[in-house]
C-alpha cells in the first residue's frame, strides 16, 4: 500500500497538486489560528475576554464569522480611484505571501519547493508586498492613504537591510542559503546560543517592521491616518490585506524559527509539530509587543533602522564571519 502511494507521489503531476493543497491548507489555517490567538491573548492582556459568542466555545469561530462577513460586503471602489491598480493591489500583496510558505522546511525532507537559495527567495518574496502597499496607497485617491503609503514604503525599504543582513549572518554560519540545510546544520536549540542571538533580535525587530506591526505601525496609525493605505478598502479586498498581514506574521515567524530556533528540530521526536510550536510562540511574542508598546514616530523608526540596526547587523556579520573562518564553535 505504502509502496503505491510512494510511487504515486514520485510522479510530478501527482505530487505538485498535493503540495499546492498542503501549502494552501497551511496558509488558510495558520493565519486564522494566529488571528484568533491575537484576539484572545490581547484581550486577556487587557483584562477582558475577547470573542466569546461565535462558535459557542469562547468564540472559536469568530474569524470564520468575520470571513463570511467580509465576503458579503459591498465592494466599493472610489470614483476617483485608479480601478485596475486598486483592484490588483491586494493580489500583489497576497500572492507572494502565499508563495513564501512553499519554501519553508516543515520537516526532514518536507520542503514543498526545494531550492538552493531558498532563504533569499523568501526574503525577496516578502519584499514584493511593498509594491502592493504602494499600489493601494496611490490608487486610493485619498490624502490619508497617500501619506500612509509613502510612510509604509519608506519603512519597508529601510528595514529590508537589517532583515537581509541578519539572515545573511545565519547563512554564513550554516554555510548555505538552502533553508533545509540551514535547519539540518543546527542543533535543536537553534542558533540562539551564541552571537547569533543578537541576529535573532535584529531579525525579529526588522520582521515586525516589515509587517508594519506595532510598535512599527505608523503607516496604519489609526489615530492619525484612519487606516493608512488601507483606508479605502472594504469587503473581501480588505480581508485579503488582513490575511496578508497575518500570513506575514506566520511566515516571518516560520522563517525566524527556521533560521534561529532550529526549525522542525526538537529535543525529541523531530517533526512539523515543533515548527508549529515555535511559530505559535513567536506569534505570541508579536502579539505581546502589540499589546504593550506605543508606536514609534516615523523619523524615530527610520533612525532606529539606519543608525542602530544596520550597523549592528553589519557588526554581527563581521563577528560571525570571523568566528567561522577561525573555526571557533558556535
Amino acid at each position: 500500500m505504502i509502496e503505491t502511494v510512494r510511487d504515486l507521489l514520485d510522479n510530478y503531476w501527482v505530487l505538485t497538486p498535493v503540495k499546492v493543497l498542503a501549502v494552501l491548507a497551511i496558509f488558510l489555517t495558520f493565519p486564522l489560528v494566529v488571528g484568533y490567538m491575537e484576539h484572545k491573548v490581547m484581550a486577556h492582556m487587557q483584562a477582558r475576554l475577547g470573542p466569546m459568542e461565535a462558535g459557542r466555545f469562547h468564540g472559536v469561530l469568530q474569524l470564520v464569522a468575520d470571513g463570511i462577513k467580509f465576503v458579503q460586503k459591498e465592494s466599493i471602489i472610489p470614483r476617483a480611484a485608479d480601478k485596475w491598480v486598486f483592484a490588483l493591489a491586494p493580489a500583489v500583496a497576497l500572492i507572494p505571501a502565499i508563495l513564501v510558505f512553499g519554501f519553508i522546511p516543515y520537516g526532514p525532507n518536507l520542503v514543498p519547493i526545494p531550492s538552493d537559495v531558498g532563504l533569499f527567495v523568501t526574503l525577496a518574496l516578502s519584499s514584493v508586498s511593498v509594491i502592493g502597499v504602494l499600489m493601494a496607497a496611490w490608487s486610493s485617491a485619498n490624502k490619508y492613504s497617500l501619506m500612509g503609503g509613502i510612510r509604509a514604503a519608506a519603512q519597508l525599504i529601510a528595514y529590508e537591510l537589517p532583515l537581509v543582513l541578519a539572515a545573511a549572518a545565519v547563512a554564513m554560519q550554516a554555510g548555505s542559503a538552502d533553508l533545509a540545510v540551514i535547519v539540518e546544520r543546527q542543533g535543536w536549540w537553534g542558533y540562539i546560543v551564541g552571537p547569533l542571538v543578537v541576529g535573532f533580535f535584529v531579525y525579529g525587530t526588522a520582521a515586525l517592521a516589515e509587517l508594519t506591526r506595532p510598535p512599527f505601525d505608523m503607516p496604519v496609525a489609526d489615530s492619525e491616518l484612519v487606516f493608512g493605505h488601507l483606508t479605502e478598502y472594504t469587503g473581501l479586498r480588505f480581508a485579503f490585506f488582513l490575511l496578508t498581514e497575518y500570513a506575514g506574521i506566520v511566515s516571518q515567524s516560520a522563517i525566524a524559527a527556521t533560521l534561529f530556533l532550529g526549525g522542525w528540530k526538537g529535543p525529541f521526536l523531530d517533526g512539523p509539530w515543533w515548527l508549529a510550536a515555535k511559530v505559535l510562540l513567536l506569534s505570541f511574542g508579536v502579539i505581546w509587543a502589540r499589546s504593550t508598546y506605543p508606536r514609534l514616530r516615523e523619523d524615530q523608526l527610520q533612525s532606529f533602522a539606519w543608525i542602530r540596526l544596520v550597523p549592528l547587523s553589519l557588526a554581527l556579520l563581521l563577528v560571525v564571519g570571523f568566528l567561522k573562518v577561525y573555526e571557533v564553535g558556535v
Binding site: 483584562a47 477582558r48 475576554l49 505581546w288 499589546s291 532606529f304
Partner: protein, 415 residues
C-alpha cells in the same frame, strides 16, 4: 533617536503578561445581569393613587418631558360637609427620549408618587415608544427596590424618625394600657377601640393608642392629635445648645429648639387640662389625608375592632400591615378614600422595612410561573415573584427572630 535602554520595555511586557494571567474584569451581559444599587436611576415609576396632579414634577422638569392631563371631579361628601373637588389623573406620560435622568421630578413630588427603579432594559426601535404612559409607569413601580439604610452619622429621615417615634409611643402606650388593663379591667379597651377605627382609613404603622395619620411626608408625629392649647412661645435652651454644638446652623437650631419647647409646653398644658377636665382620651382628629391601605389591614381592622384589639394583638397587626405593604401589594389594590387626596404611606413603611432588613432575594417560582402563564411580561413577573419571595422570607425570619441590619454594597469590580 530613541534611547532604547530596554528596562522599561521589559517591565511593560511584565505588566501585560501579569494581567493576562489574572481573571478578566469582564462580566458577560446579558448572560450575567448586573446587580444595581437601589438608588440607580434606571427608569421612573409612577404610583397613580398618590398623584394629586399638583404638576410640580412637570413644572420642575428641566426638559419638560412629563405630560400630564387631568380633570376635576366633584366628590360626594361623606356625612355633612361640603362637596369636595378632586383632581383625577387622565394622562401621565414621561418621554424618556427627552428625560435626562436628573431625578428632580422624583425629588420634588410631595406625595411620593414617583420613584426610581434600576430597570434599564427598555430600549425601543421607535422613538415614540419611549414615551411611557401610565400603565407602563405602573409596571415599573413593581420593580422599585427598598432604599438602602443611611450611613452611620446621617440624620435619620423624617419618615423613619416619626415612624420610629410612633412605634415607641405606641409600644409605651400599649405597655401602659396593659398595665392599666391588668390593674383595672374596664377602661382599657374603650380607649383603643374608638381610636382604632379611624385607624382603619389610615395606614397603621402602629394602630393602637392613637389614630394618627401614620407618617406621610407632611404628617404630624404619631401621637394622637390633641385639641389645641394656648402656650407662650419660647425656646428650649438645652436643645438649642446641643444642636449648636453638633454643628447645626443657628437658624435651624433655633427652630428645632422652639419646636421642642412648644411640644413640651403643650404636653404639660394638656396634662394640666386633662387633669383638670374630663379625663377621657382626647378625640382623635379624623385623618385628613386618607391613604392607601392594604386590603388586609383595611378589611381586617373593622372586623377585629369589636374584639378590642388587645395590646398584644395590635402590634401584631401593625407588624403584619407594613409587611403586606410591599410595593407590589399597595398600588393595584389600593383605592383612594373618599376624603380627597390620597397619600401613600407605603414608602415610609417600605423605608421602615428597609431599615429593618435588606436581604438577598430570589424569586418565588410558583408566583413566577403563574404570572407568566397568565401572560405577564417576563420582567414584571420576575419582579412580582421576587416581591412574593421577599415577603415570605421576611415572614419566616420574623417568625424565627429579627433579621439584622445588613448593608448591601453593590457589586463593584473585585480585582
Amino acid at each position: 533617536m530613541p534611547a532604547l535602554k530596554g528596562v522599561g520595555l521589559i517591565k511593560g511586557l511584565g505588566v501585560t503578561l501579569k494581567t493576562m494571567t489574572r481573571p478578566a474584569a469582564t462580566r458577560q451581559y446579558p448572560h450575567v445581569r448586573p446587580n444595581l444599587p437601589a438608588r440607580t436611576r434606571g427608569v421612573i415609576a409612577l404610583i397613580e393613587e398618590n398623584c394629586t396632579v399638583c404638576m410640580l414634577c412637570s413644572r420642575e422638569c428641566p426638559d419638560w418631558c412629563i405630560y400630564i392631563d387631568s380633570h376635576k371631579e366633584q366628590v360626594a361628601p361623606k356625612e355633612g360637609g361640603r362637596a369636595r373637588t378632586r383632581n383625577l389623573l387622565d394622562r401621565f406620560a414621561i418621554d424618556f427620549a427627552l428625560c435626562m435622568y436628573c431625578g428632580i421630578c422624583v425629588e420634588v413630588c410631595p406625595f411620593d408618587a414617583l420613584h426610581w427603579s434600576p430597570e434599564f432594559e427598555y430600549a425601543e426601535h421607535q422613538v415614540e415608544r419611549l414615551t411611557h404612559e401610565m400603565d407602563t409607569l405602573r409596571k415599573w413601580a413593581y420593580t422599585v427596590p427598598a432604599p438602602d439604610p443611611l450611613e452611620v452619622g446621617a440624620v435619620e429621615p423624617k419618615e423613619l424618625e416619626s415612624a420610629r417615634k410612633a412605634r415607641e409611643a405606641a409600644a409605651a402606650k400599649a405597655a401602659a394600657a396593659a398595665e392599666q388593663a391588668r390593674t383595672a379591667a374596664a377602661p382599657a379597651p374603650a380607649a383603643p377601640a374608638p381610636a382604632a377605627s379611624p385607624a382603619v382609613g389610615t395606614a397603621p404603622v402602629p394602630g393602637a393608642g392613637g389614630a394618627a395619620p401614620a407618617p406621610p411626608v407632611a404628617a404630624a408625629p404619631a401621637a394622637a392629635r390633641p385639641a389645641d392649647v394656648e402656650v407662650e412661645p419660647g425656646i428650649d435652651q438645652a436643645t438649642y445648645d446641643r444642636l449648636l454644638a453638633a454643628g447645626e446652623p443657628d437658624r435651624t437650631a433655633r427652630a428645632k429648639a422652639k419646636a421642642a419647647y412648644m411640644r413640651r409646653a403643650k404636653a404639660e398644658a394638656r396634662a394640666a387640662q386633662a387633669a383638670g377636665g374630663a379625663g377621657a382620651a382626647p378625640a382623635p382628629a379624623p385623618p385628613a389625608p386618607g391613604s392607601v391601605e392594604t386590603p388586609a389591614a383595611a378589611v381586617a381592622a373593622p372586623e377585629t375592632t369589636p374584639a378590642a384589639p388587645s395590646a398584644a394583638g395590635t402590634p401584631e397587626a401593625a407588624e403584619a400591615a407594613p409587611d403586606a405593604r410591599e410595593p407590589e401589594a399597595r398600588s393595584p389594590e389600593g383605592e383612594p378614600t373618599a376624603a380627597g387626596t390620597a397619600v401613600d404611606v407605603a414608602p415610609g413603611a417600605a423605608v421602615a422595612q428597609a431599615d429593618a432588613e435588606h436581604l438577598e432575594i430570589e424569586v418565588d417560582q410558583e408566583t413566577y410561573d403563574r404570572l407568566i402563564a397568565a401572560g405577564e411580561p417576563e420582567r414584571t413577573a420576575r419582579a412580582k415573584a421576587k416581591a412574593a419571595y421577599a415577603r415570605k422570607l421576611r415572614a419566616a425570619q420574623r417568625g424565627g427572630g429579627s433579621g439584622g441590619l445588613k448593608p448591601s454594597p453593590p457589586e463593584g469590580e473585585a480585582s
